[in-house]
């Protein structure tokens, strides 16, 4: 009796499983989209876009997975072999992930690829292969505190500002506030991507055309002397020197007159420091002209993927000409990656912010070869020590060049 009852239950379970298998086979294709949550409003915008996509494409289900530490989450998912079909890729992570063979090549899957800014296409191109269309992007510009400039009687920054102009203005704006706390002209985080525009403005580069490290060039020397010199002369400093965690906070609290942040600063200032009266200008010109950095994220498609066509359809929907317009309309600062949607973004944020968009024309990508985290660390650490005077500016270059060569020799 007991045995037959067990058999019946087992049979029922097996039938149920089989049935659900049949249902699943007839059911929609499910695409997992993994990324990080930026803000509730932006998440809702993405959800709305994905809903539109599902409506337009019956039979495709999209499941959005947000995780707070996306690269780490993805790394463990990759390692397990079962990973989402579509996922955000930060430009700095792309070389590692491509080397690991988990990112599919874009091939001819991209709709109207020429419309995407060439500088951004370059970011996601490795050894001549284009991997993934950018989701949106940010460029670094110079933000200035209008009230502080007025009070000090300094002219606002313009597009033809040179390094000397920046230095002179920073010197004039340095002082103390009403509470007696120090105020600096410019906030200069001791971070490689903040210094790189100066390297490019000086006409230098990390590598030459043959891939040799050129961190010890005279141009690099000029750039590091200028950047560390601002700090050593007391006109600039790291955020912590003015009680802040990052440049935007220092700027928002009125402890620095100028900051060099990307588009993320727009929403932060509007939300957290709405009273501050600020403007935007391009970064100053160096001896070799204009340069800035572009920070961007793309939608990558999994290399090991049962539904590549559906995945690309989703990516194209989100990054195509219409998707780019959607980014412009719902964005909280970041810009659409397509030139055709630039006007929509400027219309939304105002002509004053156009310096961010113009940066796309002369921006350099924030991307380094595999294994270069050691190089970034070495640079940041020695720059930090150059700020406090424990090292000379040239030590920063020799130290980081040594590390770069060591990595290349590995």
């Amino acid at each position: 009796m007991g045995k037959s009852r067990f058999l019946m239950v087992a049979l029922a379970i097996i039938m149920l499983l089989a049935l659900s298998g049949v249902v699943a086979a007839q059911d929609d294709v499910t695409i997992r989209l993994a990324g990080w949550s930026s803000s509730e409003a932006e998440d809702n915008a993405l959800r709305a876009a994905v809903d539109q996509f599902m409506e337009a494409n019956p039979g495709i289900n999209v499941e959005i997975i947000f995780s707070p530490d996306h690269p780490t989450t993805m790394q463990t998912a990759f390692a397990s072999g079962d990973y989402p079909e579509v996922f955000y890729i930060d430009s700095s992570k792309l070389p590692d992930w491509v080397a690991a063979g988990v990112v599919a090549e874009a091939g001819d899957n991209i709709v109207d690829q020429d419309d995407i800014y060439p500088s951004l296409q370059e970011v996601f191109t490795i050894d001549g292969t284009f991997y993934c269309p950018p989701k949106d992007f940010s460029t670094m510009t110079l933000q200035y505190n209008i009230d502080m400039f007025d009070a000090a009687g300094v002219d606002y920054p313009t597009a033809d500002w040179t390094w000397d102009d920046l230095r002179t203005a920073a010197e004039a704006l340095t002082g103390t506030n009403d509470a007696g706390d120090p105020v600096l002209g410019l906030v200069t985080p001791a971070e490689l991507p903040r210094w790189l525009p100066f390297l490019y403005q000086a006409g230098g580069a990390i590598f030459d055309a043959d891939g040799n490290v050129t961190m010890d060039s005279p141009e690099a020397q000029e750039a590091i002397d200028f950047y560390a010199g601002l700090v050593n002369d007391g006109f600039a400093g790291a955020p912590s020197a003015v009680d802040s965690g990052w440049g935007g906070e220092a700027f928002g609290n009125g402890r620095v007159a100028m900051a060099m942040e990307g588009n993320w600063v727009i929403n932060a200032l509007n939300e957290q420091w709405p009273d501050i009266n600020w403007g935007v200008a391009p970064l100053p010109q160096g001896p070799a002209g204009q340069a800035t950095m572009a920070f961007t994220v793309c939608y990558g498609v999994a290399a090991d993927n049962a539904h590549p066509d559906e995945s690309w359809a989703l990516v194209n929907f989100l990054t195509g000409p219409e998707g780019a317009l959607m980014v412009a309309e719902t964005s909280f600062g970041v810009m659409p990656a397509r030139a055709s949607a630039a006007d929509a973004w400027i219309e939304r944020f105002g002509e004053d912010m156009s310096a961010f968009v113009e940066g796309a024309d002369y921006a350099h990508p924030w991307v380094l070869p595999v294994g270069f985290q050691d190089f970034i660390d070495a640079f940041n650490d020695s720059l930090q020590q150059a700020f406090t005077g424990q090292l000379l500016p040239e030590d920063v270059l020799t130290t980081s060049a040594d590390v770069a060569n060591e990595i290349l020799a590995r």
């Binding site: 397990s80 080397a99 690991a100 009680d243 985290q373 930090q384 590390v403 060591e406």
Partner: protein, 358 residues
Amino acid sequence: MAEMTSATSVQRPVTTMQSKKRSEMLAGYGFVAPAALIFLVFLVIPILFSAYISLTNWNGITPLTSEQPYEYVGFDNYAQLLFREGTRQTDFFKSLKNTVYYVLGVVPTQTILALLLAVVVNQRWLKAKGFFRTAFYFPSITSSVVISLIFMWMFTRGGLVNRAVGALFPDYAFINWLDDPTGVVHSILGLFGVNLRNAGDWATAQFAGMRVWEWISGPSVTMLTIMILNTWTTIGTMMVIYLAALQNIPTHVYEAAYVDGANAWQTFRKITVPLLRPTTFFVVTLGLIGTFQVFDQIFVISSGGPAKTTLTIAYLVYSNGFKNSAMGLAAATAILLFIIIFAFSILQRRIVSERADV
């Protein structure tokens, strides 16, 4: 438990000696099985797996299901960390140096303070004992991330700590606690006018990727802040352990000491401390293991900076594995950390048991 089973078997005299033993054994394994399974799946297998991975060049990303996710490189990762000159060697010894300073600073301080607090809240004359015990224990049960954030606000350049000291001493120049790579020993030597340039040749001699001068730096100001934080948060746990042990010391021992005319200090020194030796061993071991593995506070407050002076071994494991995409190297670092902790625990056990024999 043994008593219980034997009690039940008395009621059933039919069972032979052997089958009784066997059923006891089965029951024993049955009770242990869930814990053993968890131990096996979440500890033993991962440890063995990471020991294996430490012999490969796996990047931590390539799916393990793919054709050839890694190559076997033997002890190359260990050689890079320990012997081959370069960033990886320097980073490892830097993190070792930082961690050792951290352990040497935190473990004795927290043990002594915990003992003192436990003795104080154990006094009969103390009013509102419950309040004090709760207050001292509170930091231990609060999330370390939350406490780290609060400490960051308190210790920023214009934060509570600097303002308070500044109010007491008007000449005080604000210290940038969270972003100051200067070593404490270097600062003290600096007071006597000793610096790298005039210290002599020994200071510039290289040893394992760093100058001797760097080795003797002491914890940086930022590391010191994190040490204060960690001491404060763990005292509570250690205090509770000591408190339990204190209440286990029989009162007649104290009465005897009183009759013999021992004063309070003598009682503490000659009765309390020796009787607490097993507890001290336990507390110090816990402290050693916990401090060698310090990670979360570093992750929240400094990410290893400024100038790598708060880079600890555990943080190096994380950054090698996830920021540098070198999981083989990270696994090797973790195994070395395991060996170090193991060696320290054995050493400390030796020292404590030797002294117990005297």
